[in-house]
Symmetry: C2
DNA sequence: TCTTCGCACCAAATAATATTTTGTGGTTCA
DNA sequence: TGAACCACAAAATATTATTTGGTGCGAAGA
């Protein structure tokens, strides 16, 4: 039996705050939501245990670590059958530079997000690892020129 | 003068660990990288101050908070001039459901990532907020059917 | 080569923070 | 009405972060 969780206004506020800043102390968080530390912590733990909060991550400045190029890649497979899809996703999973892989509607089948040092490294990566995945029919790269928004805060309904 | 930062193997390991799990304690982190807590903390602080670590975020389970639909949207503007681009990015910035906005090469001009409760909410959002941005010429929605990879860990070169 | 400086580190003390415990009031349901 | 259950607050305790002082090593200059 899955425990049905309903979020009240305070829970939603907690989620909003922790998405924006996971490093806030429990005391500060308590203060912001207008409760004392004990029940605040209880709520956070409950959100974690229930799986509503999945994980916590540090976000890096990609340029500063030497990752200057990000792209989206639209991929079509040779066939849409389960075997090919599994072969593809498995191959993708082994490539660290592919940080996202989504199955989508529309003309293509998949959209990937890929990170690389520069265009040269990107080209090398594509040629050596991505292009020669057997089941891939066709690919189109969209290079990100600049990013205007990259929010880590989902709008909780 | 920007302080040129060079990362050694230990720094890269720290970044890798904190990207995967920002909630690790300093003592645990120290243990994993084979240093004592003091210099470990020093390194982390240095990475934060230098801006290599940008921020820390909680990641949610979108389905569990009632956000069942994610899409990519390819957008073409009526003209590629600076004025139109600024008008567009500003309009986009006010829509919480648009969590990413990138300027890209290729036939379209922008790619957006949008989150909504369900298809009905998505349609409403598009009709009421996105479609009628004045400078938008053409849009194509790609609905995410499933996500096979969504890594928060960048491969540091 | 010798000396000195500065850096990265460790161990241990201290400060801050998380977490647990205990008790209270309000709400629901039999 | 009253029993059981929550959600909460205050305060005690445990855990963790942070600071301090001291050591050794490597690089730069005499």
């Amino acid at each position: 039996m899955k425990p049905k969780i309903k979020l009240d206004k305070i829970d939603r506020r907690i989620l909003e705050i922790l998405q924006a800043n996971a490093k806030i102390t429990n005391a500060q968080l308590a203060n912001e939501i207008g409760l004392s530390p004990a029940p605040t912590l209880e709520r956070v733990k409950k959100l974690e245990v229930s799986g509503i909060i999945k994980s916590y991550h540090a976000t890096l400045n990609n340029e500063k670590v030497g990752l200057g190029v990000s792209t989206f890649v639209m991929v079509s497979l040779k066939g849409h059958n389960k075997t090919n899809i599994e072969a593809f996703t498995q191959a993708i999973n082994e490539i660290d530079e592919v940080i996202e892989c989504h199955h989508i509607t529309g003309s293509g089948d998949f959209i990937l997000k890929i990170i690389a040092q520069d265009i040269a490294a990107y080209q090398k990566l594509m040629l050596e690892k991505v292009t020669n995945i057997e089941v891939v029919d066709n690919m189109q790269s969209l290079v990100i020129l600049s990013t205007f928004k990259d929010s880590k805060v989902m709008p909780i309904p």
